[in-house]
């Protein structure tokens, strides 16, 4: 019988679709009877999504201007 720890250790491979069929089946049967792991999987996936949004950045206009000036100078125009 798989433990929660066994299941969580292979989540990345599982989500990448790279877990061997037998292991994926064992994981799914654990998920079938373990609510904490179902919730863990859901929040593990949401982590990437949230981080991506939290780390979004806007480029200041001054950077655009200095990049333009730099490229004009270095690429010769």
């Amino acid at each position: 019988m798989k433990t929660c720890k066994d299941s969580i250790d292979v989540l990345l491979q599982y989500l990448d679709g790279e877990l061997p069929a037998e292991d994926a089946a064992a994981l799914e049967s654990h998920l079938g009877c373990c609510t904490p792991c179902v919730e863990f999987l859901r929040t593990y996936r949401a982590t990437t999504h949230l981080c991506k949004r939290a780390l979004a950045q806007k480029m200041p206009e001054s950077v655009t201007a200095s990049l333009d000036a730099f490229l004009k100078e270095r690429l010769g125009k």
Binding site: K5, I8, L11, F40, T47, T48, Q57, L67, K77
Partner: protein
């Protein structure tokens, strides 16, 4: 009708503009790229304009300061311009320039004395002695994953948690999960194996997941922090 002569194949047919697939499939910049390779500077400038926001975002996340990010941006496009003739167009321009930027960041980070990366900075889930999860995730998770506006406090908590990752884990997490590079590209850039990259990515995700969970739990404990049901 005869075959189109080789070498004259960059007509603009093919992509109905209303339904552009992601760039990895459609590669809408290919026409500009062909012109830039022939020395058309304005085409190169248009390529820069189409990709610089993304490149800047990568540089700022990786480097942490505006000044460094702005320098990486300049180095990246200078390298790209100089490399145009050698670039065979196997990857979309945006992916190619993205990899150049990631490499410039990694080179700079190698030169920077990065604070010793303690592995114990990585948070992990808590288990009982029998290997069962010790607790349930905070209830607030379901709500914000799809919310339009990301709470400013959560944004800051995530930024702090990302900064606190050991450098080797931070780089892999940013390059794969935030920037969307492939495992193979990242392994090549870092000189590591793909399994090693995946293992660091998993540990980084676990650590960030714990940080977000802690944030929600603490917030839920504050008066007024819970919306109620």
């Amino acid at each position: 009708m005869g075959e189109r002569p080789a070498g004259l194949t960059f007509s603009r047919h093919g992509y109905p503009l209303a339904a552009l697939p992601p760039e990895s499939d459609a590669r809408p910049l290919d026409g500009l790229l062909a012109r830039a390779r022939e020395g058309d500077l304005s085409a190169f400038e248009a390529l820069v304009a189409a990709t610089r926001e993304q490149v800047y975002g990568l540089a700022l996340r990786m480097m942490g300061t505006d000044a460094d990010a702005a320098e990486v941006l300049q180095e990246t496009y200078l390298s790209a311009y100089q490399g145009l003739s050698a670039y065979r167009g196997e990857a979309a321009f945006s992916s190619w320039v993205y990899r150049i930027a990631a490499n410039h960041c990694l080179m700079r980070l190698r030169h920077r004395k990065v604070r010793a990366a303690a592995e114990d900075a990585l948070a992990e889930p808590e288990y009982t002695p029998r290997g069962s999860l010790a607790g349930m995730p905070a209830e607030a998770w379901g709500r914000s994953a799809e919310d339009d506006a990301l709470d400013a406090e959560l944004r800051m908590a995530i930024q702090r948690a990302t900064d606190a990752l050991p450098e080797a884990h931070r780089e892999v997490f940013l390059l794969k999960d935030v920037e969307g590079l492939s495992y193979e590209d990242i392994a090549g850039m870092l000189g590591d194996s793909v399994p090693a990259i995946k293992s660091r990515l998993h540990r980084a995700r676990l650590s960030l997941r714990e940080a977000i969970d802690r944030f929600y739990n603490e917030k839920g404990l504050q008066p007024g922090g819970q919306d109620g049901i």
